[in-house]
Chain length 354, copies 4
């Protein structure tokens, strides 16, 4: 693959740091421009309050943070955005207009009609929306979004079930890690010895984004999947890794064994294309009674943190339903990892670079 | 109410300690005999590794622990059992045979045909099984069971919904506190920064016990409620308080407002009889978005820990379903509190004492 | 005691809420005016994000929050201040000038020459500074400060050792609860599965304030105690309760038994005056190997949370030193409780009211 | 280095699993025999309840666990022991007698006169005790011990201070991780939202073992270092990583800068010999105010978890003392890592193999 250079918006925050860590030794994407509002001018190593147990990459630590402006990204083949939602809404279109292909984690434009909302294993064909996007906006560049951290694992699990068995209704309860709220995020005084049974706007996002991702892109927009969803989102005192219980009803009969087979065999475009950030198995099904667990399974997969781990696949109510539990690393598979994988997919499709 | 004297089986363990704490200043039940296998002969204050932030009651601390034998309970009007399941299975019938009315938290006999499984607000009429129980077993005493800690809150919430709206199907995910596993219980190495998505036999208990409690007692046995249940039980790093998300489908239309009204108005026999351990409101519905929370709501109610707290009552899928979140204190309402309330109910019905 | 009415600055924050909770049924101090910057005009029940497991007091919930201004405190006999340090520095002198006796938890003026820094059991005589304070400032009212939450327990333990045995050198390591940082305070992402070995300015405060409190007030200022201190402050994932290990060297020989006796017998003015918030025993010494523990001992004492719990009193190095571990509830004894006790002491001394 | 084959006693427990993980791709030590009492006959993958987030090594998972007997270790050049103390006391001498060189983490024989207690960077010369050991016991093999998990980091930090500045007196407070108690170890009900200020026998071990390690081996025994120690050991709710605060007094003047230099420059035999498990820097000194932290720093070093991280080097009381905070990974540097490094050192010295 030919070399690509990337810029990073919101580089010093908790989300941005994941990109810096994951791209440190990427085979063909090189982070060349680190941008950040208030830190502009400082060395990245000083500007970022590094939150990860791994060392800050040396090369990045010595780079100077630049202000958030398209001129500063000159020469970049793509721009990752780790901006919070409001800043994203304001800033990203300026970069798209200036000719940059922006891949964003922000929620701001995920539901925009012409913005593809991508999980590379699930709906790579939605990137076709970009042609209409450019036409309607007049942008020389583009905006591609990646989903909410709770949606990613859930949708990856629903995809093979949907295709194979006519998934009809889903009841989901999430137990989400504190890192999902960013930094400073959840005050320790609220979450220690506690569970918070509510995350603002999260349940709506999970419902809407899931239906869009599992929908059909045609004629420049997406027809959302016809799927009934009931969702309860909770915050638990866990550092990383979103756990979700799933009760699924189908139009016909399903067995746990058949569902397990469909989940285990699931592969997508990233696996076929052997993209560097693609895990060998997008979904790993464990058979022990008490897995997946956030602390033990969040780094599962041949690319750590990129596989969704499923366990407890079992009967639901009657012959038409099953239950299972799933886990995905919220800031890797549910964040930077899926964005980087999307960049790799776009590169493979010739959509990046000049 | 006339004074009753009580014995306590398994008094030194984590479960037993709750009885000692709750009965310390009870208006008419006096703990007279503390029994415990290995601690017999020691002072209770030395034998019990006191696990609660409140001081060990002085009177109890100075009582001598006796060995587990019906002779040692002589004179007691009732015997509470805080024994683990296997010991309970072996020991409790000996006490029943010797003429004691045993009220037990153990799971061993909850599903026995002639053993009433009681939540005083929900199914006081099931105590009528005792007549058949005595006939079949030849016991002079009796055994009454109280439910699993996850069942209690759930069933109290389902009861008013069932009566009023024809509840048909329920999908439940629990997030259970570590104290639910007793002592030593869950190793800290397993639950710190983690969730364990499985609790042995718990989901079966929740399904079976709920149906029995909500069923109809007639002719010496219980016809279980016809209710479809899908249950996922999880352990979270919280000290006390079981949180449960509930998705409920009904045969007809239901609104969150109507469900809220039914839950709020729910009262049972303990409230009518003004029993001392009965909370004024068995169910408290909170309207804030982010409640109930274990740490903030576990001691809710006019009798601390005896009210179930419900929140987030909202639409489910379509017009025939709702969702909500509920919390109950697992060792009070889900343990000693319900057992003591059962004793109070039996006393009020003239079933205890001589 | 005659009735006193009080105002509260910073009433809606985490610190302010403690005053509202503790004064709810005070025998002679009635909270009449709740002040708060941004919440002015709202009902207190809406304005305060209530952080405690106990219910918000009903009377307070229905009071209207007023803006922070001396006119709004008219008629109050004293004003408690739960303001953060910067606001305190600006606001409190305006109240003192307007004639109010301000009792403040803020660090802003604790080390001011004419501000008494009071723990009622330790240095009640320092209130004599108020005469000089009024003279120098021209205030009709006054400002009295209470110490840092880590200082309070430590100083109470040092006091009887100092008096009895000539304490010379102290090495302290604190393990401080998250509530000590206020709200939102410590991000959960920083403290989960972690200890933070640093709290900004805390070690300096502990050293300076301890020496002032244990010093001698004479001639309008305090000569600090001649005491060598080495202090390490750490934040641990505990909700409430500061734990401290203490190594103490003396000028002469000391035994653990003698130190235990001195600690156990310690009493102060609040005990002699039978003030309502005074615990019967300011210091409780436990003899079990593994106490005090924050979760089990933080509410110790006849007034919950007002006693300091000491344990593990044992030999140090050689005959002239001992070691021990102490615990105090940081927001009660280390916060609102000591401030309220100070108000009670001032009332008993005739320093409050008209 | 020539290839060595190793046996492992207590292979299925929490401690044993660390050896299996760390030796998975060792350049010259190959685990050939996994022993375990109750699991004998099972595959290791089934017998071990794998507690680590990393996958169980495939080769080990398929090995059959053998019973604990010298015959089963036939052909092994050394035997690591991860046995609990009592079993170690009974079992290890049988292996030494049968000709095996046993390297043990167990506390049982650490203080035995002829057993070297080794930290390879600190006291490699103590291995000379082995000649006397063989003579006195008549063993063909030998027993070498590695220290308690709290001692290792502490002693590594004291070593350069002792050599350079005449360390005289040390006051230490530890905040120890739950994994230090093994499995099942500390019940979650005891440590959640809590600190336990006591660990059985730990303070005695820290004092005795530190003095032995820093002592001088001559004439077949060790003269312990003349060092005054006051130690307080605490358990905190952290998964891995022991944090310790240290106040140190010297016979002469010391500055933080000079101490930092001595710590930073410290190297030992493992570094000179370029042993594979030797970190480039045995001690890493961080200059940020708020480091080291267990979650961020426990895997520090070129060999993850093998470097001790020091921070907050600062003045103590007067010119002759300093304070600092240190962290070491208790199951790597404080456990399996130091044992493996000891094996590497013994191999380099020609003490292993035939």
């Amino acid at each position: 693959m030919k070399q690509l250079t990337a810029g990073l918006l919101g580089s010093t925050g908790a989300v941005g740091q994941r990109y810096v860590a994951m791209l440190d030794d990427h085979p063909f994407i090189r982070l060349e421009t680190l941008m950040g509002g208030e830190s502009a001018g400082k060395m990245y190593g000083e500007a970022a309050r590094w939150l990860s147990p791994t060392e800050i990459p040396r090369a990045a630590a010595r780079m100077k943070v630049r202000s958030t402006s398209p001129e500063n990204a000159k020469g970049c083949d793509l721009v990752f955005s780790a901006l919070p939602s409001e800043a994203a809404e304001r800033v990203e279109p300026r970069f798209a207009k200036a000719g940059f292909n922006v891949i964003t984690e922000a929620s701001a434009r995920r539901m925009d009609e012409h913005v593809p909302l991508i999980i590379p294993e699930v709906n790579p064909s939605h990137l076709s929306l970009l042609d209409v996007q450019r036409k309607r906006t007049g942008w020389r560049g583009s905006i591609v979004a990646t989903p909410n951290c709770t949606v990613t694992g859930l949708t990856m699990v629903m995809k093979p079930l949907l295709g194979r068995f006519k998934l009809r209704k889903v009841v989901v309860t999430s137990m989400q890690a504190i890192s999902g709220a960013g930094f400073p995020g959840v005050p320790s005084l609220l979450i220690t010895d506690n569970v918070i049974p509510y995350i603002k706007n999260e349940e709506e996002k999970v419902a809407d984004e899931s239906r869009k991702i599992l929908g059909v892109a045609a004629g420049g927009s997406v027809s959302p999947a016809n799927l009934e969803l009931a969702i309860s989102c909770n915050r638990v005192p866990v550092v990383d890794g979103h756990l979700e219980t799933l009760y699924a009803e189908f139009s016909g009969a399903v067995t746990p064994a058949a569902a397990t087979k469909a989940l285990t065999r699931f592969r997508g475009a990233p696996q076929e294309l052997h993209l560097p950030t693609a895990p060998e198995h997008p979904i790993i099904v464990r058979t022990e009674h008490d897995r997946p667990q956030p602390r033990l399974d969040r780094f599962a997969g041949s690319v750590p943190g990129m596989s969704v781990v499923v366990g407890r696949v079992r009967n639901g109510i009657g012959r038409n339903s099953i239950q299972l539990t799933l886990l995905s690393h919220n800031t890797i598979r549910g964040g930077a990892g899926t964005a980087i994988l999307t960049a790799e997919l776009m590169a493979a499709q010739g959509r990046l670079g000049r």
